[in-house]
Amino acid sequence: MRIDNASQAAAAGSLLHVPPRRTAARRLWRFLRGRHWTFRTGIVILVALVVTLILAPWIVPHDPAVQNLIARLSPPSAEHWLGTDHLGRDLLSRLLVGGRFTVTIAMITVILSFAIGTLIGVVAGRVVGGLFDEITMRVVDVLISIPDVVVAIFLVAIFGPGYLTLIASLTVIGWTPFARLARGLTLAINSQGYIQAAEVLGCSRSFIVLRHVIPNIIRPIAAVSFLRFGHKLITVGALSFLGLGVQPPAADWALMLADAQPYVERLPILMIAPGLAIFVAALSVTWIGHGLEIESRDGGSGDE
């Protein structure tokens, strides 16, 4: 006793609707358009900064290491746009080159800390109460209270300064806040129906972690990682300042700051320029993080 279906076929045939496939560029555009202004501004500054830093060796007006003791501490001019430092080196050139080291180190350590911390945190959060969880959380509790500068001094003392030492010393401490955050978020998500559904459906643990948990907690962690990036930038600067990072005569923002100290009154730009560079770099990533976080609080949806 079905209702007579006279022209049912017509319905099936009518205008089957196929959603248009979006190109990667359009998706990126949509993604950007939906973000908070701080995110967009931050991205623009950061991209400009990174491009400049990458191109620095080719676009510097002067060799950043060449001294010209006659033209020491000269104010900005047509020849030296930002003037010269106490050894007569071109400030602009040093500024362009001087960010490479700091930014690279900061980036690598943040990415490493982010990856390691998230993974450990998620796994700990999925086996709450287990031995692994207990141990990692105790380790985090201990490590998180040690300033990374101290670890860096310690490691540099043993292995000597260098890229690897710096990255290692910053990462050893750096992963802990990520792990703690990731664990907390994972705990919140554990009681969600879709995680339980995945378990009931027989999905493997790694599938649940990689496809359900991580995609759903990555936004706030990414936001934090950008915030940490600014922090790392300053730490690397501080280490260079303490003589544990870049070794002179190579240019580095923090080192430039340190060098400028005695001459600040004669030529303030010596300090303002690298200070501003660090500030802008840190601000751009912080803004990106902030923008992402605002999104994630609103429950920014889907990854279109």
Binding site: R2, I3, S7, Q8, A11, A12, P20, A188, S191, S301
Partner: protein
């Protein structure tokens, strides 16, 4: 316009669309809701009932946009209201009970906080007073041990409890209009009766107007004054509850009512409407129900139903129907 003459809620020719979809999700929907009235919105799954409710609250999911029409609440144009006033309206005079209570409750805060927040925000109650009110509300919606339940997190509640908590949250602001999207799906008959009684009481006491979205025709019969039936983004029939339920006119409504009886044929098969309505919105001409309609062929109207879409035609007692078959029947009778 005089505020008192106009119904509390007036929706005129509402259109809602999503980008990337060829046809609007809601297409020219008009409804009114008076003070103290219960209007039931029934219809196909996916026909746009929840979207209608969400557009009233201006809470359409991202991407969704109201592309046409007007919504007036108590004489005010809801669609042009500044955000701040809209916010005040939402928590206060307009309240909504969402279809997914578990998903709408914040998993990280306690039940009491979620109900008390609007109380403290909109009505300026102190902590103590708000808490007292929360307990009263939980008791009203039939939650045993409200003091303990108030301290629960949403995942510690059963499906029906979450639904009742949402109901308590919705009623906390003493709204003038309640939009209840499937308020009783997880409730057994006894608790359901309690909720329906509660809505009825509020209506008597405070003239609460209710837009009740449900699939349960027994609930409609128990509570509604008027019924609107939706199919594929359009209203196909509307009228006084008794008239629509007891003598449904539109072939879709008739089929729906037959299906709802759950009477199997000799093979144990239950009656269902053949075909699927998922693409009905994209039909560019003709009645949206025609591919599935049996009345069309019975009345020899297939070509007419395929070619042009009928309009909503009223009969004597405010019962309107969108169907050629009904129209021709009336003409021949006249």
């Amino acid at each position: 316009m005089n505020k008192r003459d106009e119904p509390l809620l007036v929706i005129e020719d509402l259109k809602v669309a999503f980008p990337g979809q060829s046809a609007p999700v809601i297409d020219g929907l008009s409804l009114t809701l008076d003070r103290g009235e219960v209007l039931a919105l029934v219809g196909e799954s996916g026909s746009g009932k929840s979207m209608t409710a969400l557009s009233l609250m201006r809470l359409l999911p991202s991407g969704g946009a109201i592309t046409g029409g007007r919504i007036r609440f108590d004489g005010e144009d809801v669609l042009s209201l500044p955000d701040r006033q809209m916010n005040r309206l939402r928590g206060g005079r307009m309240a909504m009970l969402f279809q997914q209570p578990q998903a709408m409750l914040d998993p990280t805060s306690r039940v009491s906080a979620q109900i008390a927040e609007p109380l403290r925000l909109h009505r300026g109650l102190g902590r103590r007073a708000a808490m007292g009110r929360v307990l009263d509300l939980l008791r009203d919606v039939g939650i045993p041990d409200p003091a303990v339940r108030a301290r629960c997190f949403s995942h510690e509640l059963s499906g029906g409890m979450a639904q009742r908590v949402m109901m308590a949250a919705a009623l906390s602001g003493d709204p003038d209009m309640l939009i209840a999207d499937e308020p009783t799906t997880a409730l057994d008959v006894t608790v359901q009766a309690q909720i329906l009684r509660l809505i009825d009481e509020e209506r008597r006491k405070r003239n609460l107007a209710t837009l009740l979205i449900t699939h349960d025709l027994a609930v409609v019969a128990a509570l509604a004054d008027r019924v609107a039936v939706m199919y594929a983004g359009r209203i196909v029939e509307e009228g006084p509850a008794k008239a629509v339920l007891e003598s449904p006119q539109h072939p879709y409504t008739q089929a729906l009512m037959r299906c709802s009886l759950l009477v199997p044929d000799p093979h144990g098969q239950l009656l269902s409407i053949p075909g699927s309505g998922t693409h009905a919105r994209e039909l560019t001409c003709g009645c949206r129900f025609h591919p599935r309609c049996s009345a069309a062929s019975q009345h020899g109207l297939v070509s007419r139903c395929m070619r042009s879409e009928p309009a909503l035609k009223p009969d004597a007692d405010g019962h309107v129907t969108r169907c050629w078959a009904v129209e021709t029947e009336k003409e021949t009778a006249a």
